[in-house]
Symmetry: C2
Amino acid sequence: MNITIKEVAKLANVSPSTVSRVIADNPKISAETKKIVYQAMEELKYRPNAIARSLANKSTRTLGIILPSTDENLFGNPFFIQAMKGISMYAQKKDYYIMYTHSGNENESLNIVMDYINSKWVDGVILLTAMENDRCIAYLKDADHPFVVIGRPENTQNTLWVDNDNFQAMYSVVNYLIDKGRSNIGFIGGPQHFNVTKDRLDGYKRALRVHGISVDEGMILSVADYSEACGYEAMMNMMKYKIPTAVVTTDDLISYGVLKVLKEYKDLKIEVVGFNNTPLASYQTPPLSSVDINAEKLGYYAAKLLIEKLEKVEGSVNHYIVETNLIERESTDILK
Amino acid sequence: MNITIKEVAKLANVSPSTVSRVIADNPKISAETKKIVYQAMEELKYRPNAIARSLANKSTRTLGIILPSTDENLFGNPFFIQAMKGISMYAQKKDYYIMYTHSGNENESLNIVMDYINSKWVDGVILLTAMENDRCIAYLKDADHPFVVIGRPENTQNTLWVDNDNFQAMYSVVNYLIDKGRSNIGFIGGPQHFNVTKDRLDGYKRALRVHGISVDEGMILSVADYSEACGYEAMMNMMKYKIPTAVVTTDDLISYGVLKVLKEYKDLKIEVVGFNNTPLASYQTPPLSSVDINAEKLGYYAAKLLIEKLEKVEGSVNHYIVETNLIERESTDILK
DNA sequence: CTGAAAGCGCTTACAG
DNA sequence: CTGAAAGCGCTTACAG
């Protein structure tokens, strides 16, 4: 049989209530009583049953992460891994448990969110991505359940979020390329319903316009999936339309596909910039220039915001903007 | 206020016990009653409180993973990621939750294990590595708490485990190198207290002996950490002692360090084989030959064994051996 | 086939 | 400062 608060109470000659208060370190309990109870706990090797505490407390100290990945892609995207790393580091430091589930489509994600909060398993939910018309966000808001989004949601009211300044990040990349004399710049982005894609596309367009270059919609392509295969296909399509002098993408994985095309057309001198500065970027030929978005930091601050909300920390903000920086490699140093 | 079993019972005009039985799909409840109760649940949008169920049931349907990583290394080792992927795929399919915690040293890991099981949070524990004299394993065995180990534990009695045949895997690698005419083969392994290291070292020694090559202890090095830096250092030390014709390592990360040394000594023709066939292996110069250990499958079967035990599946085995295969690349094709 | 009651192991408002 | 009692939301042995 398991030892419970009752056995401890009996041994310490106090009531179960008192033992409970000692566990919670209630200041009203006298130091003397505390000592006696601690001794009894020690002697019996007592450990509080966290499930029972959670039921009474209505709190699990557990954070639930929704990983937007299919079975096959699970942990395939370094961005999510890095974000999870940041989340884990903060959460574990603060003695929170982490639970995760992956899902490849919005319906399933929504079900997971519903399950998480209705079953009362998690105190807070971490969304790793923000979509247009995001039903998970809508549901969580409506249920008034604590959550945080990595990526800026459409409506930031009453919402915790962390993000890069994606507009600014892409704006400076394109600026940088134009300054280097590139003017016919293609854009290959992720799915259009992600806010991050839209922000970066806006930055791209703005940079062109600022330099008096007209936006050519034919040079703006979108892939269904962050993958080399999709990037390859998109680049081939772009080249059928027009040959760019540089290509910016919203993800390194897409850029890998672009580089693959360029390997097949060695005489073309096209510069390429990716996003996320993934581990493989420096191993490409040529090594890929990429925007480091500090995914780990995004995750870290996401966990921080959420936990501060759960613990009702005074004066906590509702969002963080994490800096980005372009890591220059040979893919933007083609014309030596 | 939250809707509970009571409200459903009232609306359906039955007792709470009956509602509970309907949730559990108890066969004794009449189809008619079930229908009425389901309707009431629907109408009230009732969701069972999983915490309360867990308290009454003494089961959480949650698996706890111990990730042997420091804060900095978290998710840095592709082997663990792949294993987690396999675990997640199986567990989620079977409607189990997954929780993980990382820890860089055995003491802390043990504390996590204790916390997991004493707090009653997890039904089963997954250990991602097996050490000599493993205190986590000892504790779990002693507590008679369900768990599974990735990697063969010292004593396999009453223990669930999955592993490769590490002896055989390294034996064939060394055999292969000897057949290719290499005879002065160095070995750089991970920490010696990991069983996996010992098994692979045994395979290495056996292959040499079978071919009548005497084992030179000076050619057997061990690193503290699976990292490029440690691999580099070990290789430098080996070369001070004797120049090998081939080097086998127990992890790609170590091999990366070896390759780095070889880049600095371009005239040396030394073949290298790694383990784990990590994503970066094919991007090395030269591309690294590596043993694919099917980490994802290891994770998948680990989850399967554990869940089958939790659900008392008849005729379930207590371990799986997952096949390995050498992926040949240029690092073992030096002498064209 | 269904209900009343006790129990899972805690917490906490209330009373003293 | 401490205790008795009710409650968190379920499950299940027992009785009918």
